[in-house]
Amino acid sequence: MAKVKSLADLKRMKDALQSKMDLREKSNDPEGLVQIKVAMATCGIASGAKEVMEFLIEETAKRGIRTVVTQTGCMGYCYAEPTIEVHLPGKEPIVFGDVNIKKADEIIEKYIKNGELVDGIIPVNYKTLD
């Protein structure tokens, strides 16, 4: 391992290493962040939930939005897979159906960034227990 030769060196190192710990830091304070749950049951995965999840993780990071993306089980909307639930801080969670990459992009740009609702909302008919 290369030696850390100066304070600037150490800071550079920290910045590089921080991303590896980011997931842990964020889960320490999920309330203040955008939380996205991707339904990843068989039906979801078959209709592309995995790709959508990866897209969400990468793009929110790239666009500088502090987000926790988690996977969850079947939400029950098999007709509208992949489905995702977006929980903005201080707001009720909203479920979007038929989320492909294009839709995911729209959700990030419109809903997550500006709070503008987009098509594809599924009325929530369940309650999540903590």
Partner: protein, 597 residues
């Protein structure tokens, strides 16, 4: 290239490792491999989460799910259900003992709600054997800041302003201690970390060293910078093998990165750390005894002054601080003294780590702001007394402290308040006792410890504590007199006044505080020959109720000393002069005919 979407944290503290957390880690890793998820899920062994009661702990991120009492054979199910299918494994979640609610996020648990973690900030969060994770959390940034932007005096001023006081028990202002050591001019100076944690029931220093060893190394380097030392020594007891291993790994990594050694961060400052092992003598937690032990001499204290800051290790100026004190330093430098001194009470700033033990629901390690009340600690964080019993007392400060009772429950805990009510902070051990604990026996237990641990240098401590122990023993055997109580008090005061070091000066505290708070219980032993808690064997008698006894002979057949007589189908009788009070008869009796009187 791996892109981890999930992290699984497993507690790697001594307690959880003893319950097979290493096997859990292996099984989890195998199960992840079998599913082909090794690039997506990272398994990390961390330091102590503190919730030892329900260990081993496994925490899954990012959804912050907190699994308790996990067994190695649960690993596959956790991966299959939680990781692959995204369903929580309900049977392994924590259930609130009061309202029976299942809690999956540790932040909603009563145990964690009131805690503020400064000294334990990285415990249960980072892999202690991975320096990168420490650096990612601002590790060594405080040292870098000191070396690049601050003079030794401004660092000392910052620590003074923070109000940090020694966490080893004495509560001496840390900044002041550093200043003394800095003012003495010498060709060689030393920084010593006191990791000789000896209070029964205290394990915060061990947990910090196991969970976040670099925080201590970094703080030692900062201290060395302020006083002009280039050598650090960690005095640790050899009975802490895991802490020693993790420290060795940390020292090696810090040297490889150039964070220990010569010209640290290009500043021209040199500092390196070595380990010294102790044999586990309680008295070696006293700084002069500790220094003698490191020099290869007998671990005996000497008169202060000269203080170690003037003449310590090898006669050179030495600064000794406790592990927990050091662990606070990097945070104070990074966040500033004014951030730190807003936490806590008026004269005790910051937080304190306590080790909860005894008859309490949530045994474990907690960190709370100074000034938190005993009630909050015992009932809200500790979850109350085990099995719904009644709270009787809590011993703070280990064998040097005193017991506090019901009436002290609303006392805010800090250095001065505890002293005012006849106990002390000590290193932060808290042993909770319920109605079944006999306070005379408790005082005797601690005296037994101090008799064993007295180094023997001062007569009052060497002989006096032994006499105290004998008198207490006599009382628990039912042979005490009222004069003994006066003698106990007088002798205790003499020992306190005439001993050289903290051990003798505080060892009679458990006797004095139980005399103050539980005088009636002493009287019951002496006058009524009765132990109200039913713990002193000599004062108990097993009796068979002739009304209830059916003469099944089961008790007589199980008595190891054949002291139960009686014919079949007739009431039996216990010969109390021969009875050894083993309780075997009572355990065997199917008719509840045997009781203790």
């Amino acid at each position: 290239m791996e892109k981890y979407k999930m992290h699984i944290l497993i507690c790697g503290g001594t307690g959880c490792r003893a319950s097979a957390s290493e096997a859990i880690q292996n099984n989890l890793q195998e199960a992840i491999k079998a599913k082909g998820l090794d690039d997506e899920v990272q398994v990390v062994m961390t330091g102590c989460f503190g919730f030892c009661e329900k260990g081993p702990i496994v925490k899954i991120l990012p959804d912050n799910t907190f699994y308790v009492e996990v067994k190695p054979e649960d690993a596959e199910e956790l991966i299959e259900e939680h990781i692959v299918k995204g369903r929580k494994v309900m049977r392994l979640l924590y259930v609130d003992p009061e309202n029976k609610e299942v809690i999956s996020d540790s932040k909603h648990m009563g145990f964690y709600k009131k805690q503020i973690r400064i000294a334990l900030r990285n415990c249960g969060f980072i892999n202690p054997e991975n320096l990168d994770e420490y650096i990612a959390r601002d590790g060594y940034a405080a040292l870098g800041k000191c070396l690049a932007e601050m003079t030794p005096q401004t660092v000392i001023d910052e620590i003074k302003e923070s109000g940090l006081r020694g966490r080893g028990g004495g509560g001496f202002p840390t900044g002041l201690k550093w200043e003394f050591a800095a003012k003495n001019i010498a060709d060689q100076k030393y920084v010593v970390c006191n990791a000789d944690e000896g209070d029964p029931g205290a394990f915060m220093d061990r947990s910090i060293l196991e969970g976040d060893p670099h925080s201590v190394l970094e703080a030692m380097a900062i201290c060395a910078y302020t006083m002009g030392a280039d050598k650090g020594l960690i005095y640790i007891r050899a009975e802490y093998p895991l802490a020693i291993t993790r420290l060795k790994v940390a020292i090696k990594q810090a040297r490889e990165y150039g964070l220990l050694g010569n010209d640290i961060l290009g500043s021209g400052f040199n500092f390196d750390v070595e380990m010294r092992y102790g044999a586990g003598a309680f008295v070696c937690g006293e700084e002069t005894a500790l220094i003698h032990s490191m020099e290869g001499l007998r671990g005996e204290p000497t008169v202060k002054p000269p203080f170690p800051a003037e003449s310590g290790y090898n006669g050179k100026p030495t600064n000794v601080n406790n592990v927990e004190t050091f662990a606070n330093i990097p945070v104070i430098i990074n966040k500033g003294a004014s951030w730190f001194n807003k936490i806590g009470s008026e004269k005790s700033k910051g937080t304190k780590v306590f080790a909860l033990a005894g008859k309490i629901n949530n045994v474990g390690l907690i960190e709370v702001p100074m000034g938190t009340t005993l009630r909050e600690v015992i009932y809200e964080i500790g979850g109350g007394i085990k099995d719904g019993k009644k709270f009787k007392a809590v011993q703070t400060g280990g064998p040097s402290g005193g017991c506090l009772t019901e009436k002290h429950l609303d006392t805010p805990i800090d250095f001065d308040n505890l002293l005012a009510v006849g106990s002390m902070m000590g290193s932060g051990g808290m042993i909770v006792m319920d109605e079944d604990d006999c306070m005379v026996s408790m005082a005797k237990f601690y005296l037994e410890f101090t008799v064993e641990e007295s180094c023997g240098k001062c007569t009052p401590c060497r002989v006096g504590n032994k006499r105290l122990h004998e008198i207490l023993d006599k009382i628990t055997l039912g042979n005490g007199t009222k004069e003994d109580l006066d003698l106990l008090r007088n002798l205790s005061n003499v020992i306190k006044d005439t001993s050289l070091c903290g051990l003798g000066q505080t060892s009679p505290n458990p006797v004095l505080s139980t005399l103050d708070n539980f005088y009636d219980e002493y009287l019951a032993h002496i006058v009524d020959h009765r132990c109200p808690a039913g713990q002193c064997k000599a004062l108990m008698q097993y009796v068979i109720d002739p009304e209830l006894c059916v003469g099944c002979t089961l008790c007589a057949r199980n008595c190891p000393v054949d002291c139960i007589s009686g014919e079949r189908k007739e009431a039996h009788l216990i010969d109390t002069s021969k009875c050894i009070k083993c309780g075997a008869c009572m355990e065997k009796c199917k008719f509840n005919a045997i009781s203790i009187q």
